[in-house]
Amino acid sequence: MKRAYCAGLFLMISALLTTPSLVTAQTHSEAFKDNIYETGTLKPRDSVLKVKVGQKAPDFTLPAVAGGKVTLSQYKGKKNVVLSFVPAAWTPVCSDQWPGYNITKDIFDAHETILLGITVDNVPTLFAWTNQMGQLWFPVLSDFYPHGKVARTYGVLRSDGVTERALFVIDKKGVIRYIDVHDINKRPPLEHLARALEKLN
């Protein structure tokens, strides 16, 4: 009997301590109504990077939500590129991150940089999800099939098939200049990325 109570007590305490509202902090925009799937707190990082700063960024071609395909090397000599991998459509944090970038086009423009948003979701899902964000000025790419191939190449594919919340800054020569594989539960502060872009010049 005593043991059962202690076990109950232990369970209650651990339940209280792990309640998402207590340990995670995230906001939900009214834009997504009740359509955001609560993931709870996830393991901050669940993959091993396969590229590093100073290396050539592996080239790739992916289908874009707006139609057509986008190839990384098409920007070579023309624009710096930011790759923003977010874990999955319709999840907390991710649903906020790109709308933030959407009002900071001037920061990207000032540093002659294009942003490419990437997830492992398929195009129709990305279409429905990004429609809730308003008109996005940057391409959104689907790394759906073969599943997460680009994410795997960069070393940001997690064991459950979603990606890390990761930012890669690639200069006009195609060289990786900045990597932030962020805690998946948190949004990378914009000023960190802005600082990385300033260093490109």
């Binding site: 009997m1 005593k2 109570y5 202690c6 007590l9 209650m12 305490i13 209280l16 309640t19 509202s21 207590l22 902090a25 995230q26 906001t27 939900h28 925009s29 009214e30 834009a31 906020d96 991150q97 709308p99 933030g100 959407n102 009002i103 900071t104 920061i107 809730q132 964000m133 308003g134 949004r187 502060p189 914009l190 000023e191 802005a194």
Partner: protein
């Protein structure tokens, strides 16, 4: 033994319960705001607007107004972005009406936004009222982890006591009916 366990449960729940109530829900109409203070605003013009002393943190009832309208927002929230021009119009409508100017003041709290991020929002939308960053979500937790945007109107009494008269998520809708509704709820003459 049973008793000991129940007593320890009781003690534990009193320790844990306050944490839990922090996120129990947004401030209710008829109630008061949770206890929190805000830092000095960015400029002296904003300080003058709020009518607060130039030293130290202040709390909402310190603001020189009969009604304080708080918008809980995030730079990252698409609806807050869409709402920004409407909220600006609301500010202009208040400032342009002698009945409301000086009586209704507005502030915004950028939940999960660093000072840099909130400044991006301020500049992008020319936000004319003071905004306060809540980078670590502390205020967001205290205010019941509301969705964004969220509007709270607080009636400030002459003795600096206060009462929440409006507390709702989503767009404020049409500016004129919104102000009239807030004025009515707050008992402004």
């Amino acid at each position: 033994m049973k008793k000991v366990v129940w007593i320890s449960l009781l003690v534990l729940s009193t320790i844990l319960f306050p944490l839990d109530t922090m996120a129990a829900g947004p401030p209710a109409v008829g109630g008061t705001l949770p206890n929190f203070t805000l830092p000095q605003p960015g400029s002296s013009a904003e300080r003058d607007y709020l009518g607060i002393s130039s030293r130290g943190n202040f709390s909402v009832p310190d603001i020189k107004a009969k009604v304080v309208l708080i918008e809980i927002l995030s730079m990252y929230c698409p609806f807050c972005q869409k709402e920004a021009p409407i909220v600006n119009k609301l500010y202009e409508a208040i400032e342009g009406n002698p009945r409301y100017r000086g009586e209704i003041k507005m502030i915004g709290i950028g939940v999960g936004n660093s000072a840099y991020e909130l400044d991006v929002f301020r500049k992008r939308y020319n936000v004319p009222f003071p905004l306060f960053p809540d980078a670590d979500f502390m205020l967001h937790k205290l205010l019941g982890e509301t969705r964004t945007p969220y509007f709270i109107a607080v009636r400030i009494n002459d003795d600096r006591t206060h009462k929440v008269v409006y507390s709702k998520a989503g767009s404020l809708g049409e500016v004129t009916p919104f102000i009239e509704n807030i004025a009515k709820l707050a008992g402004l003459k």
